[in-house]
């Protein structure tokens, strides 16, 4: 493949890469040669790179990541275990839907983070408080996406199974569950974002370790390069998780022309 064709195909990637490289270079050049750097308010890529190397080679960063991950995984797992069945039951039994829908919709629409101070004070500043907050924020996308998935099952397919004499169990295993999986994965993608907010807010509010705490502490002590390192690492993790979910959605459900609103 000649150079021109290769560039054209991966145009999006190359333009993006150039954009980032140019941005970083301009940033570095301006702050080194044009404006003097006031280390309390500004920093530049070279300093960030140094801090990044130090942190990666040190132990604190990994410890912080481990602490935050632990709380996130606990909270997220419970969100999956509780959220999906609730969504399934809501989709399955109309009365359950009628009873739970207004209440859960109101909760979903509200900034549940507002309860963070209360959670931290009741559950303490350790894993439990943070995990509870993550659970509270992450459970709703699972409930509502699973519910939407069940309700959107093509009724024609249900008739097909029925016409072959299939029972309720067959209906669930062969049509409703497979049909719902893409929705659940989309829900997982949303839940990841919301769960991360929970971890960060929890750690900003009252913690002594964790990546969120590290960022806010770096801010308090005016160590800008360290703060940027924390932000970049968190951002990287968030992007990787979210893009992984998107790819998963596409693999599991290639038949859905999903052009979506992020």
């Amino acid at each position: 493949m000649n150079a021109k064709a290769f560039l054209a195909e991966h145009r999006r990637f190359w333009l993006g890469l150039c954009s980032v490289l140019v941005f970083v270079s301009v940033w570095e050049i301006i702050l080194t040669y044009i404006f003097p750097v006031n280390p309390f308010f500004f920093t530049k890529p070279s300093l960030i790179a140094v801090a990044f190397k130090e942190q990666v080679l040190g132990a604190k960063l990994w410890h912080d990541l481990a602490v935050s991950s632990q709380a996130f995984i606990w909270g997220f797992s419970f969100a999956v275990i509780i959220g999906i069945p609730v969504g399934l039951v809501m989709g399955w039994r109309r009365r359950v839907e009628y009873s739970l829908d207004p209440f859960l919709t109101a909760l979903y629409a509200s900034p549940l983070v507002a309860l963070a101070p209360l959670f931290i004070i009741v559950f303490g500043v350790g894993v439990l408080g943070k995990a509870a907050l993550v659970f509270l924020l992450a459970v709703f996308p699972f409930v509502f996406n699973t519910f939407a998935g069940v309700k959107s099952t093509d009724s024609l397919l249900i008739n097909v199974i029925r016409s072959f004499g299939g029972g309720e169990k067959d209906l669930y295993l062969k049509v409703i569950l497979p049909s719902t999986i893409p929705y659940i994965i989309a829900g997982a993608r949303l839940a990841i974002g919301r769960g991360l907010v929970g971890i960060i807010v929890g750690e900003f509010y009252a913690a002594s370790e964790g990546i969120g705490f590290a960022i806010s502490q770096a801010g308090d002590t005016y160590r800008l390069p360290d703060m940027f390192v924390g932000i970049i690492i968190l951002s990287f993790i968030a992007v990787v998780l979210t893009e992984f979910m998107r790819k998963l959605e596409l693999t599991v459900a290639p038949w859905r022309a999903s052009d979506e609103v992020r």
């Binding site: 993006g16 207004p102 960060i200 801010g219 703060m227």
Partner: protein
Amino acid sequence: MKPEKLFAEHESFILGTGFILVLIAVWESIPLWYTLPRGMALFFTTPSKIAVAFSQLLLDGTIEKHFWVSAIAFLAGLGLSIVVGLPLGLIMGRSSTLEDLLDPYITAANATPRIVFLPLLILWFGIGIWSKILIVFAGAVFPLLINTYVGVKNVNRVLVNVVRSFGANEWQLMKIVVLPNSVPYIIAGLRLAIGRAILGVVVGEFFGSSQGLGYMIASAATNYKVDVVFVGVAIFMALSVILTLAVKHLESRLVSWRPETAKTF
């Protein structure tokens, strides 16, 4: 016959409100049948106490004072995100080069919880209204921006060609075809943006402010005034629900021909 028929017709409403009322009643009655251990009792409150606290705070003007502080930050931040997000989204939708150039930043910023930038903002702008407005802006601008440019990109090619064949220039194209077609996406984006904006106000006021409803919640929590915490949470909940319903109503009014692909999650 009548009561059964009445129930059947309004079944969803009755079950929905009934459930909420039952929950409130159970909550209220907990102290009656369960004595909490000493430690827990400090953190416990009941709906009636919350209502009492609410009326007190309302009467002495505390709520009003904090509400307006929050409202200003919310409106300013949301307004800024509309002013920046909408035009940028329109241009990005029409120029795939621009879209490709900006894509890495948008993908990264959209996936990252914007809250993470709060310490940086506080460092630069101090504890005050600006760090709040900017965090609200940072949260709200992305759904608006992204939905706008997805809406623009999804414009029906055939319609564009039709209008072009009559000799329309880029500006006329925008006005006649692209904009109307994007409206459902933009409104959906607005709905998401409002949710994020409220989130931004809450978190911004937890850490970066000495006034506002979020501050009220945080300081009440520190002083173990749990009923005040719930008053604040309830106000935010009510605001969220009202605003979201208002936008949903707007959505259904404006968009009866809505294209199937504008998803709502």
